[in-house]
């Protein structure tokens, strides 16, 4: 860049200032001509000008130096001095000086001439520098413009490349979209050609896909039902006031959405409207199953139906059968129908009861706890702020009040926990039973406490169940074992499993207080305790919760005991019971 600038400076300097940069000789001649011209004028007009001998030579030297610079100024000064000395200073036409003032004037002229020359030389240089600077600025500007145009070109190239890339990407997206669409279409046709009767619904029961078999069985067309609500497409037959199909279906869908689990409906009579608008009698055995999205929320519901119309109809056909048999069949069908109705009503009642129970639990926990809090709180205030006015018995009574209130608080909490176990939906997964038992034992005990416990876990098979609930089972059983063996010098707690028939039985044995087998059936009742509060603390809800959880898993729990020698608790987990 610097090189470019210098080149540019030289070029433009030449063009812009020819005169000042032309060879010195020309200007020197011009500079010596001006004093000669001054001499000529002064010679002619000497009569008017005298006695100012230097009169015209000051301007002459000034202009000479202005035009020719330092050297030209000096030459003009010398020429002028010689001319004036010879021609005008007395004694004229001789270099002799009559007066000393003449020498002085000559001295002043010479000094001024030199000064003019110097000044003009500096002026000239300053001018040249200014011009050079201007030229440099111009050059820089040109260079910048050049760079800008280069950059612009570069940008254009890049944006072109970007455009190409974009086009390529778009092409790829298009290809991918085509692939996806093809895959989707394949999946859709696969679904549509499934041999079973399938409907795919959104959680708000809009039909999004349907199998051909379903269309055929329900006498509908795909265009006629897609994107419509299930109940708009299949309403109850208005001519048959006894039909409950829509209500049953709604209840079942509600259950699927609430429990996030499949729901099998009873065989139902669901009349279907044909393309001609006439209702045709049909019998169905439907199952509704949820399909989960990646966020574990229900994305779709698959409604699978087995049509059993033919089966039902054949059973009721008189052909080849006696009339008696037909009547019996019809009666049986009617019974089945009635009992399914009863189940439906019972289900609805159960649901209502469940909701009421939830509201009741809330109100129990909220409203019963408030007065208890006041009882305990105010006893506390009495003990703390009015202790001086209470004797020992008064203080004891106060703490009994406190303790009873707290105890009742615990009872309420445990009762609510018990009721919650019955209400929450079970979400099953595989459970490493041995790891769970060990980790809970560690949670329940302190390092010092563990030193006096021989805790053994035998090989346990893994099981399938709700991890939160099964954890609660282990927690309650192990904390019982720890609690009831705490008065022995050394506690022995053995956890094991054994196969009995086709069931896996998990067992927890301790060497604790044990119990009399007479009372074995009382062990699992709510608030049932076989020990006094003084002996062992507790509310008597733990084993009731254990039993409830295991029942909900399809398993059971039982106990064996010997007073003073220890107890064994055994449980199975139904289908998920270990492998």
């Amino acid at each position: 860049m610097a090189v470019n600038w210098r080149v540019a400076t030289t070029n433009t300097g030449k063009n812009a200032d020819d005169f000042h940069n032309s060879p010195d000789t020309g200007r020197l001649i011009l500079a010596s001509l001006i004093p000669l011209a001054a001499f000529a004028l002064q010679w002619v007009f000497w009569e008017a000008i005298q006695p100012f001998v230097w009169f015209l030579f000051y301007p002459a030297v000034f202009f000479s130096s202005r035009i020719g610079g330092f050297r030209a100024g000096l030459v003009a000064t010398a020429i002028s001095t010689v001319i004036v000395w010879w021609f005008f200073l007395p004694t004229r036409f001789s270099f002799a000086l009559e007066r000393s003032a003449s020498a002085l004037s000559m001295g002043i002229f010479t000094i001024l001439g030199v000064l003019f020359s110097l000044t003009h030389e500096r002026l000239r240089k300053a001018n040249q520098q200014a011009k050079a600077a201007l030229a440099a600025v111009n050059a820089a500007k040109e260079h910048l413009e050049e760079r800008i145009s280069e950059r612009t070109a570069d940008l254009a190239r890049k944006s072109e490349a970007l455009r190409m890339l974009n086009a390529e990407l778009e092409q790829r997206v298009r290809e991918r979209t085509d692939q996806l669409e093809a895959a989707n279409a394949e999946l859709k046709s696969l679904f549509e050609s499934l041999p079973g009767l399938y409907l795919l619904l959104t959680p708000d029961l809009k039909i999004v896909a349907v199998s051909d078999a379903y269309l055929k069985a329900t006498l509908t067309t795909r265009e006629g039902i897609l994107d419509r609500n299930l109940f708009d497409v299949f309403p109850d037959n208005p001519d048959d006031p006894g039909t409950t199909a829509v209500a049953n279906m709604q209840t079942s869908m509600d259950r699927v959405l609430r429990n996030a689990a499949s729901d099998t409906m009873a065989i139902a009579k669901h009349d279907v409207r044909g393309p001609d608008g006439v209702f045709v009698e049909r019998y169905w055995s439907p199952i509704n199953s949820p399909i989960f999205g990646p966020d574990r929320q229900i994305r779709y519901i698959v409604h699978r139906v087995e049509e059993v119309t033919e089966f039902v109809r054949q059973k009721s056909l008189p052909a080849g059968d006696t009339a008696e048999l037909r009547i019996r069949m019809e009666k049986m069908e009617a019974e089945v129908f009635h009992s399914s109705q009863k189940v439906r009503v019972a289900n609805q009642q159960l649901e209502t009861a469940n909701k009421e129970l939830e509201a009741f639990s809330y109100s129990v926990s909220h409203d019963l706890r408030a007065p208890l809090r006041a009882i305990d709180g105010y006893s506390h205030i009495l003990l703390e702020d009015h202790a001086s006015r209470l004797d020992a018995e008064g203080k004891r009574v106060c703490s009994v009040i406190s303790e009873s209130a707290r105890n009742m608080g615990k009872l309420i909490d445990d009762l609510l926990a018990f009721s919650r176990v019955g209400r929450t939906a079970i979400q099953s997964s595989a459970i490493d039973m041995a790891a769970m038992a060990r980790s809970i034992f560690f949670e329940l005990t302190t390092p010092e406490g563990r030193e006096r416990v021989d805790f053994q876990v035998g090989p346990l098979p893994s099981a399938v169940g709700d991890p939160t609930l099964i954890r609660q089972v282990w927690r309650n059983l192990l904390s019982n074992a720890v609690k009831f063996s705490s008065k022995k010098e050394r506690s022995v707690i053995d956890v094991g499993a054994s196969r009995q028939g086709d069931e896996m039985v998990f067992s927890i044995r301790d060497n604790g207080a044990g119990f009399d087998m007479k009372y074995a059936d009382k062990l699992f009742g709510v608030f049932q305790r076989l020990h006094s509060m003084k002996e062992f603390e507790g509310t008597g809800v733990g084993l009731a919760i254990v039993q409830r959880i295991l029942h909900r898993h399809g398993g059971r729990v039982w106990a064996e005991g010997d007073p003073g020698k220890g107890a064994s608790l055994h449980f199975t987990m139904g289908k998920g019971g270990g492998s």
Binding site: S365, H366, D376, I381
Partner: protein
């Protein structure tokens, strides 16, 4: 009560016994910040938004923490919470829901509406005193409010 005075802790609680115990627990911890007890939701809204009987209060000096029961006469706790968390300027006031029950179906709703904390009043008086005085300490001393 002087309706224009500054209040650091606003307790909205309709059960006077709970209110007394909460105030006592807070004072036992030597938390002497000015505290006001209101008994229903409508009054709480008037107080916070400086309306009605509280028209003279300075809106720019809101309480440092509001302890709010959910079961309240007139306007319930959730509505009060919603009103506070809807307004831009009052959204940053910490609101702690203090209620009786862990079974409360409103816990989720309260959090969704922007409750800063949810505390179940324990039956055990020692736990109760600890819980309430810790609340006071935390929200008045530990918590750093936005400027």
């Amino acid at each position: 009560m002087n309706h224009t005075e500054l209040v650091d802790i606003l307790l909205v609680e309709d059960d006077p016994r709970d209110a007394e115990m909460i105030v006592r627990a807070i004072r036992k911890r030597n938390i002497v910040n000015p505290l006001s007890v209101l008994e229903d939701g409508a009054e709480a809204l008037d107080f916070i938004f400086c309306r009605g009987a509280y028209a003279g209060r300075d809106v720019s000096r809101p309480p440092k923490v509001i302890l709010l029961d959910l079961k309240l006469p007139k306007v319930n706790g959730l509505e009060v919470l919603k009103a506070i968390k809807t307004e831009e300027w009052s959204r940053s006031i910490p609101v702690v829901i203090v209620t009786s029950s862990r079974e409360d179906p409103d816990i989720k709703t309260a959090y969704a509406l922007g409750a800063n904390s949810y505390v179940v009043k324990p039956v055990d008086s020692n736990e109760f005193i600890d819980a309430m005085s810790n609340l006071g300490l935390y929200w008045l001393l530990v918590n750093q409010p936005p400027r």
